[in-house]
Symmetry: C2
Subunit: 403 residues, 2 copies
């Protein structure tokens, strides 16, 4: 199940980008599990990868290739993460890339590989190589919806965003993932393309900013996968002027569109979170700085006790205060802390609010979407994270995954 996950919108083609999704039989036959993106020459690209030290072979290889040259093709397989696979895994990733490079007539480094799926099993690179000709033959500008489905693993639905800017360019993106790490299905991927023209340094800077405000603000279970990656491509094929400064009017418009796209794609992952029955926004205000606001937000968002109360629809504010109190702010004055569920004030100055009635809290907690808001009374910094509850189904999905 999922929480208010929007259906895939009309996915506008992005000039200079074609894609295809085919069935390579990586793990199971008959399922589209190989996605290929083709990017026009002259495209700029930026990417951010998992910070997990056990990052997968394709992550290591994609990073290395990106340092060398601008990518022309993105090659994504599901069903196998090619992680924890050592030197053999790196060789398998290289085989896939070099087969694709040969078919495309480009250098090896122009291919970026992505894998998601079971950890620790050898990547059946021969199946991927065998399916490549069909993928190349199927490349089409209007296949974004196919690609959105093709990158899914145990997600319940495809996730996509597509918009047209006033400046004449299009931005279309897809994401997958249903936990920060899936059991063995390792995990979150997002691909965003635009036909705006954006210089590489600006693209890089804007992606960092947007990811910080979106993919780096979601959590289902606090785990970080070995394969997470977000990739942004700008083909420039729309013919609009090249954006060369973050702080220009065009740069700001692009940044806003990019952040909105990333936030929607990131929230879609939370809405489709494992066993999710609630979509929860945790906003911490009045912190001394953003780092402490974030620490408190994550203490709440990761607390199993808060998450089980959310599942139960129980306005158990003691658990919220306890999570705030253990978030690592050593000089927190609890008499400065106010706590709200949506519009309902639960606690004021660190104690239960005099006007608070359990029925008011229960009303908010019964909603599918809930805002938990705390004001720390220490300064002006604010941070927001998005998360889900912890349900029987979370345990079921993760306990039974391999059985």
């Amino acid at each position: 199940m999922s929480v208010n996950l929007p259906p895939l919108p009309e996915m506008h083609p992005v000039a200079g980008v074609r894609c295809a999704a085919v069935a390579a039989g990586v793990r199971k036959p008959g399922r589209r599990d190989l996605v290929l993106f083709e990017l026009a020459p002259g495209s700029t690209a930026a990417a951010m990868f998992t910070r997990n030290r056990f990052c997968a072979a394709p992550v290591q290889l994609a990073k290395r290739h990106l340092e060398t040259t601008a990518p022309r093709y993105l090659l994504i397989n599901t069903g196998n993460a090619n992680a924890g696979t050592g030197a053999d895994g790196m060789a398998a990733a290289l085989r896939c890339c070099s087969a694709a490079a040969e078919l495309a007539g480009v250098e090896l480094e122009a291919i970026l590989p992505y894998s998601t799926g079971v950890i620790g099993e050898p990547l059946p690179s021969e199946r991927i190589v065998a399916a490549l000709p069909q993928a190349f033959a199927g490349l089409a500008a209007d296949a974004w919806a196919d690609a959105a489905h093709g990158i899914l693993t145990t997600d319940t639905a495809a996730k996509g965003v597509s918009l047209r800017s006033d400046a004449g360019w299009v931005m279309t993106g897809i994401s997958k993932g249903a936990g920060m790490i899936r059991p063995d299905m390792a995990t979150m991927l997002a691909f965003i393309a635009t036909d705006a023209a954006v210089s590489a340094p600006v693209l890089d800077a804007l992606l960092k900013e947007a990811v910080e405000a979106s993919f780096n603000r979601i959590t289902v279970d606090g785990d970080t996968s070995t394969n997470d990656a977000v990739t942004l491509v700008a083909t420039g094929a729309a013919g609009s002027p090249t954006i060369t400064a973050v702080d220009s009017a065009q740069g700001r418009a692009f940044a806003a569109a990019l952040e909105a796209t990333c936030v929607q794609l990131a929230q879609a992952i939370v809405r489709d979170g494992e066993g999710a029955t609630r979509f929860v926004t945790v906003r911490i205000e009045g912190a001394r700085n953003r780092a402490e606001a974030l620490a408190v937000a994550y203490a709440i968002a990761h607390s199993p006790l808060v998450k089980t109360a959310l599942f139960a629809g129980d306005p158990n504010w003691g658990r919220l205060l306890a999570a705030i109190g253990r978030a690592g702010i050593d000089d927190l004055d609890v008499t400065g802390v106010d706590l709200f569920l949506d519009d309902v004030r639960i606690a004021v100055a660190g104690s239960v609010a005099p006007e608070y009635r359990e029925a008011d809290g229960a009303r908010v907690m019964a909603q599918p979407e809930i805002l938990i808001r705390a004001h720390l009374g220490r300064g002006d910094a604010t941070e927001t994270v998005w998360t889900t509850d912890l349900s029987y189904d979370y345990v079921k999905i993760n306990a039974e995954y391999r059985s």
Copy 2:
């Protein structure tokens, strides 16, 4: 349910200590919910309290009293945590202490209060005050088992340790708690007494050491309660020579007994953890320092994905590697990491071990007690933590607690 939780042993009386457990009707009638300890004059005491900033009124008061004078009485109620209760809560705690002080004919500061139970409800101090005469009348040297039962909340069984040293002194202790924080039942308490004579500074230093190796190495759900406290009392009534140095032979023997007692009491809390079906030891070896060993151990022990795999008995080593990889060691060389389940080597140099067979991992994971051991290949530091799995019952207990 619980995992190999030992029954309460013979609880040796501690010369100079008497206790009683009576029913005050704090939350429910007919349940022993008020425990009183009497300590002989001249006893030394040391205590450690929760670091949660939202610490409860009794915690604040007990700290203050301890700074003033040596305690003569410990007064513990269950059913109500007197946390999140503001100035009224502090007044209620003071009322209980001052009634006890009057009955005992001691100064107010000689009473240390402890509360555990529901957060955010007013403490019914009048019921506690009314039950005090019965508690004083019931004080007995051989009532430790009653006290062990009297401090429980939603624990499934009483937890105690008792030993006689070669030097002629006794050490007896009790604990309660079944999660690092119970839903509203806030949480872990331990009381340990000895009739050894120990100087106050030595008692303090040894308690810190022992707690660091025991109560500070357990986790059920990563939450820290508002009421946690560990209290150690030495009456000196056994007549053995006063221990005045940590590094003396007597000091070391006492320290070893204290650590063993604390470890057993702490492990008992994990064995009785909410919904626990496994008792799991996580040992990290070969770390550069203890801090990073501990960070990795907790990353594993807190990972919902590791914990659900433990519940399922699934040797899902990808989740273990992923947890190690995200533990915050930025320069971790994954090719130095070996991983074991008990005696079974799962991964070597960061990849699956060539001799590893899934059946071997599954055999270990089917056990009620499991050792997860990782060697980081970075140095000589080792740390150990104890935890449980994440089961349907954990969600059930915490989701349904107030319904």
